[in-house]
Amino acid sequence: QKNGVSNGTVYKKTFIEHFEQAPMYVAVLTFLGFGVGTIFGYLRDFMRAWGLEKRSVAAEREQQKDFVPLYQDFENFYTRNLYLRIRDNWNRPICSVPGPQFDLMERVTDDYNWTFRFTGRTIKNVINMGSYNYLGFAETDPNALKTVGKELQKYGTGVCSTRQEMGTLDKHVELENLVAKFLGVEDAMVFGMGFATNSMNIPALVGKGCLILSDELNHTSLVLGARLSGATIRIFKHNDMQCLEKLLRDAIIYGQPRSRRAWRKIIILVEGIYSMEGSIVRLPEIVSLKRKYKAYLYLDEAHSIGAVGPTGRGVVEYFSMSPDDVDVLMGTFTKSFGAAGGYIAGKKDLVDFLRTHSHSAVYATSMCPPVAEQIIRAMKCLMGLDGTTQGLQRVRQLGKNTRYFRRRLHEMGFIVYGNDDSPVVPLLLYMPGKIGAFARRMLDKNIGVVVVGFPATPITESRARFCVSAAHTREMLDTVLNALDELGDFLQLKYSRYSKSAHPELYEETRFEFED
């Protein structure tokens, strides 16, 4: 119980998030590392410009050398000189289903990451800590995929049309009814691609004269949709409700910039779980703000649908709220359902409007039938409509795995961001040299991780992002945790100043008996 927490009664359960800052020397050493990298980058650029070194880097043609330079901004410099040196940790081709373990194609480079070649061997049974497979539905078990195989034989793979022409199949209608029932809303519409759901539907909902209040760390699809719509965009600090309230008040008091008219509509864009931080949105406070200032709420549950909540129905259920509180519920089927595509759900009027006015409905191909059947079977499993409790067991297993993994990482002394209940676990690495070393050594230990660096995260806060899955067994998580322990000691990654004792069982004896 804390004193003086504003709106503390709006939350029915404790909301614990960690964003610990590393000690100051870490930031200094990170900048030192980047400084050395930059100096050597300039040296290499100089050598390439003066012909002392021959490498195939992107350069303008001879006739264009007098024009405005194309490749001199910092992002290109960074890509050429710093990203290239550790490029072998990204874009690794896999050759099996991305379940809890997968196979990687072995890839070597002869000229320091400029070109790669495949040796032809595969690295088998690498533990997968990077795929978005929260409930473990990415599986090849023939029993599970029986209905999907049947639909594949009945419909084939291509739809060959858009939703508004001839691409609406009975499978889509069945899926949309099921999604609406799953979420507890009136109606839903499904699209073939999750990114396109956001970027093509936000322009249909808002336009010029509207105001979009978007979180600082929103995904690129939301940012793209907001920019394409032509509305005014204002950014509020990540999960900061005071900042959002101030922006709302200013918007209502001052209106549009020059004419001072009222905004046609104000829409708040947030995500359920932010994939780079692992933090959960403060939904109860946002809903109370939205009701007070009469704004609309667009909630992107890409990572949270199926992953949080007692029965897997997302952040709305996690906070025990009703789905009527959120105006537009959006989500994707890529992460928890092992398929592809996205949906938008809400009131029937909204969805009917989108069926006629969305760019995706008019121009984009609709979802293909076997994928729709995979989502139907996964959702039926989650809701318990297939007669088993397997869905609920998966959600519970994911919750247990998440809490165990996060608790052990905190105990070991790593700095881990995010909410205690989110299955996305970012572990902070900070220094650029450690990004490459971490990913390579984890692969040597047969564990595949995703590391993220500058353009996707702030320049000093590079991280390794783990995605816990319900399909991970306790042994796999223990293997990963032991490897992390060893590597954390070797690479000195345990920066946390608040860690509990790593081996509490040594100190269990609290009573000492006197011996005569």
Binding site: G37, F40, P432, G433, G436, F490, L491
Partner: protein, 80 residues
């Protein structure tokens, strides 16, 4: 056994240096350049420190002696 541990610790320290200054990512010729530059800077620092301390201590010692044994030197110079 102890030699092995000392060698391992030194190797570990060297790895930390490599990771922090991004020399882990450099190609071999870049590493040679970087280490040469670093060792040159360190050697020059040590030499400057040595000279500084040697001269400073030397002059301090001399002025101390001067305070004590002032008479001897004066008589020597007058005779000359």
């Amino acid at each position: 056994m102890d030699i092995k541990r000392v060698k391992y610790n030194l190797y570990w320290l060297f790895c930390q240096f490599e990771l922090i200054t991004c020399s882990y990512l450099m190609e071999p010729w870049e590493k040679v350049l970087f280490y040469t530059f670093n060792s040159a800077v360190v050697v020059m620092l040590l030499y400057t420190a040595y000279i500084f301390f040697a001269v400073h201590l030397g002059t301090a010692f001399q002025s101390f002696l001067h305070l004590l044994g002032n008479q001897h030197e004066n008589t020597v110079s007058v005779v000359k």
